[in-house]
């Protein structure tokens, strides 16, 4: 399933990175985030105590006053609720506003995904979507498939118009097996 997901993700211009250990993960982020990184409160990030580790690695972490800081950040880091292999889609329940700010404003979006949370296709995703709706009175759910794109000028595909120009999905087993959390 992971292979199919990665293939589909790469097809739409996303990057998949295998991060076997949290250390590896922090190293990748430190290396690939050129400036401040927005870190919204996602359970899988908190579980790894990523804010602390990233700071220790010298990364400028934004984890409060998101509205003020996010527009200036160069990257956002979020968890992922689950992913859909057929289309290379990550599903991110982003009702909490900081998650949305982290995944819409900065030019780079890092998304931490436990590969155990990859499902085959939209048909399998349906019941999960339903469960999410049942849990929350208000919902903002995002299917994200690759970086932002446009073909509005002469139909030439161009990556990175209003949303992230890069999407890196960091595959790290063991961070979460709960489809209802990111």
């Amino acid at each position: 399933m992971t292979g199919a997901f990665v293939a589909a993700l790469e097809k739409v211009g996303g990057v998949a990175v295998n991060c076997d250990t949290p250390k590896h993960l922090v190293g990748y982020l430190a290396e690939n985030a050129p400036g401040a990184v927005v870190l919204p409160p996602c359970p899988s990030l908190q579980r790894l105590d990523l804010a602390r580790h990233l700071r220790a690695a010298g990364v400028d972490v934004i984890d409060d006053d998101f509205r003020r800081h996010a527009p200036m950040a160069t990257a956002g880091l979020t968890g992922v609720n689950f992913a859909i292999a057929a289309t290379g889609t990550i599903v991110l329940e982003s009702t909490a506003e900081p998650i949305r700010l982290a995944s819409t404003l900065p030019p780079i979006h890092f998304a931490l995904l436990d590969p155990r949370k990859i499902v085959a296709d939209s048909a399998v995703a349906g019941p999960l979507l339903r469960r999410m709706h049942a849990r929350l009175a208000q919902t903002f759910l995002a299917y994200i498939t690759g970086p932002s794109r446009t073909a509005d000028i002469e139909r030439v595909l161009t990556i990175g118009v209003h949303g992230p120009k890069e999407l890196h999905v960091l595959l790290c087993e063991g961070v979460s097996d709960d489809f209802m959390e990111s």
């Binding site: 404003l105 919902t139 299917y143 994200i144 932002s148 446009t150 002469e154 990175g160």
Partner: protein, 717 residues
């Protein structure tokens, strides 16, 4: 008024036709689209997906009150405010007064065709509120002061140089015409807007009744910003966007991106329900449900299927008229085939009056529509309605009513015309001008002469060589076969006799009525249908065979529809429909695949042109190819084999000859590129068009009806 309207419309056509860059852009897009669409649907059952959408949308349409109530209940429970706007004016008034009350100075918008439909930007600007489009294409259009020329790609008619010029004005410096750079300029220029705006306005692709949420299917990421950053979010949603459940919503998501742009899924699908958190508090969400003619459409027995539309834009992508003139000509706000229908209901029949006639009737849109809408039939119906309101044109009306309905008179006149045309006949079989109701538009294609003796007058002299016929069939020739190409009748008899079939020619048969029907004169079409049903069933034939697919559609489909409410004729029309069959399919299915026609290996390289009404009307395209191959020809496929040739009956003569000529030009080029020395087809109308185009351009490729090529092989080898 209507004269002035027509003049302005013709001027728009001329302008578009004088812009080869436009045609080039749209043609290249259409080619690329077909390939990516095919890839996207690989491994998926399009017919099944389509049936699913159609059934689901019909369910919502028929029970829309309940679904609207359910949606409203759930949305309000989640903290949204829902307003049902019956008209464009009501929707505008609601949004404008909300902006005023909240002191909003700047609105950021993501793409919404509904907002174009109601001219929302204009209403906002009038109230002193600035509306900033953030979708790249929409922003370009806004800067240019234009309207979208495509529902999915609003600025498809523009090139990067024009965009660079517009952007340079915004930034005050010269912006190079490089696409990645221009995209970056848009990102930077629009970014502050999201942060400053007091209100974000979006559309919605889907409204889910069971959750009270909406879904947005987008690529650029601007809709996510528009719905996140400003304190107030207004979603303007046509009521046809309602679906019952999340699973139904998924059906739309599974199809829309594939059919719109050939993507498996767009970069983003955002499911938004209720007053989600915003800054320190929560979002003020208003959902404006827009009717504006949709209920009237739902109530229209002939047109209601159009409400299934999911706005994928595919009907434009494949439309030869759209590809020739673009959406600023072939559209009002909504464009192309679906645009004609939506314009009639949302913006008034008056605004659709010209567009209704601009459809050439090729059914390319019907084949590609993911919602199973028979766009062509609905457009034909609107043409009838318009014919009743505005008349079908004095000269035409006279011919239809007083001449065509009287078969003897009609045929006498054509015979007389054949005598009158003598002095203008160029060579033996090609004339400069066609008399009668065909206008003299021949400068871009040669037209055949009316035969000295129509087939009906030659019939008695045709000797049939068939001993114990396996079938007795009646031949419905149609006007072109009868009066212009009588030799095809000889070919048909020769081939069918060879296959053991006897052919009769019921003398009482008349024009199939399509010219009248397609011009909006339903009454004449009905009279002609009665005459033909009586004539063709009189001899109790096993089958009625045709050489013209437009006639086939008339006999199979239109007669049944026209005579449905005539107790005397309804059952007979059904019977005729059931036994009518085009000649190629007849030979393949009823005469053992025409094995008896297999000839010696011919050296001729033949390419095949699919007539619109044969392929997409009767579903026949394999059969003629099979027969041509069996007859020993080498078959080579041309590009766009099933693209319309631009004939369209009176379309190419009187209503839109200039567009027809361009479409023919494309066809001739494709034929030539195939390298074939002969192009075969199963339609005398296409034959007239294509042969005329080839002749006029001095091409050596010959054009022939399949039946002619089959007849040639008999007795050979």
């Amino acid at each position: 008024m209507s004269k002035q309207r027509t003049r302005a419309y013709k001027a728009r056509i001329d302008k578009a036709l004088a812009t080869p860059r436009l045609q080039d852009t749209l043609h290249r897009f259409a080619d690329a689209y077909l390939i990516s669409r095919e890839n996207a649907f690989a491994g998926h059952d399009f017919a099944a997906l389509r049936a699913g959408i159609a059934a689901m949308k019909d369910e919502v349409r028929d029970n829309r009150e309940e679904y609207l109530a359910q949606f409203t209940r759930n949305a309000e429970a989640a903290g949204a405010k829902v307003y049902l706007a019956r008209t464009a004016a009501e929707a505008n008034a609601y949004i404008v007064s909300l902006a005023r009350q909240r002191g909003v100075k700047l609105v950021v918008k993501s793409k919404s065709m509904a907002s174009e439909e109601i001219h929302l930007n204009h209403a906002l600007e009038e109230a002193g509120v600035k509306a900033l489009e953030t979708d790249l294409g929409e922003w370009i259009i806004q800067l240019a002061g234009q309207r979208p020329s495509h529902m999915v790609m609003p600025a498809i008619h523009m090139v990067k140089e024009e965009v660079a010029e517009l952007f340079s004005k915004v930034t005050g410096q010269v912006e190079p015409a490089e696409i990645p750079h221009l995209v970056q300029v848009a990102r930077e220029q629009l970014r502050q807007g999201y942060l400053d705006a007091g209100m974000g306005i979006s559309g919605a692709n889907i409204a889910v009744a069971e959750t009270g949420g909406i879904a947005l299917i987008t690529n650029e990421g601007n809709a996510r910003l528009v719905t996140t950053l400003p304190k107030i979010h207004v979603a303007l949603v046509g009521i046809e966007k309602l679906v019952p459940t999340l699973e139904d919503a998924q059906k739309v998501i599974d199809v829309l991106p594939k059919n719109a742009t050939g993507q498996l899924i767009t970069s983003y699908v955002s499911w938004i329900r209720g007053a989600v958190p915003c800054g320190d508090g929560s979002k003020e969400l208003h959902i404006v449900l827009l009717d504006n003619g949709r209920s009237a459409l739902a109530e229209s027995p002939h047109c209601k299927d159009a409400l299934r539309c999911i706005k994928c834009g595919a009907c434009a992508n494949v439309c030869p008229v759209y590809q020739t003139v673009g959406g600023h000509v072939f559209g009002h706000i909504y464009i192309s085939a679906i645009g004609i229908i939506l314009t009639a209901f949302f913006h008034g029949l008056e605004n659709a009056a010209e567009l209704v006639r601009a459809c050439i009737g090729c059914r390319a849109c019907v084949a590609v529509c993911p919602s199973g809408i028979d766009l062509e039939s609905i457009i034909l119906h609107l043409r009838e309605v318009l014919g009743e309101e505005e008349g079908v044109g004095a000269g035409k009306a006279l011919v239809f009513k007083h001449i065509m309905r009287n078969r003897a008179l009609f045929h006498t006149m054509i015979r007389t015309a054949s005598l009158l045309q003598k002095p203008v006949t160029r060579g033996e079989r090609t004339i400069r001008h066609l008399p009668l109701f065909f206008a003299g538009l021949t400068e871009w294609r040669s037209l055949p002469a009316i035969a000295d003796k129509p087939l009906r007058d030659q019939w008695a002299g045709i000797v049939q060589k068939v001993e114990k016929p396996r079938y007795q069939v009646a031949f419905f020739a149609g006007c072109l076969n009868d009066f212009v190409y009588p030799e095809l009748g000889h070919d048909l008899v020769k081939v069918l006799n060879h296959l053991g079939v006897a052919v009769s020619f019921p003398q009482e048969q008349n024009c199939c009525g399509v010219p009248a029907l397609y011009s909006g004169d339903r009454e004449t079409a009905t009279v002609l249908a009665e005459q033909n049903v009586a004539a063709l069933l009189a001899g109790n034939p096993d089958f009625v065979v045709t050489t013209c697919p437009t006639c086939t559609m008339a006999l199979q489909r239109d007669f049944v529809d026209l005579l449905r409410d005539h107790p005397r004729w309804a059952a007979q029309a059904e019977r005729l429909s059931a036994i009518t069959i085009d000649i190629s399919r007849f030979i393949v299915e009823k005469c053992a695949g025409g094995q008896a026609l297999a000839g010696r290996a011919a050296t001729e390289k033949v390419t095949y042109h699919d007539s619109c009404h044969l392929k997409r009307g009767a579903g026949v395209w394999r059969e003629p190819r099979q027969l041509l191959a069996a007859s020993g020809r080498e078959l080579v496929e041309m590009a766009h084999a099933d693209r319309c040739c631009g004939f369209g009956g009176s379309y190419s003569f009187t209503s839109h000859p200039d567009i027809a000529r361009h479409i023919l030009g494309d066809k001739v080029a494709d034929i030539e590129k195939s390298g074939a020395s002969c192009v075969a087809m199963d339609c005398p109308g296409c034959l007239m068009q294509i042969r005329g185009g080839l002749d006029k351009q001095g091409k050596s490729v010959r054009a022939a009806h399949t039946i002619q090529l089959l007849a040639e092989m008999i007795g050979k080898g």
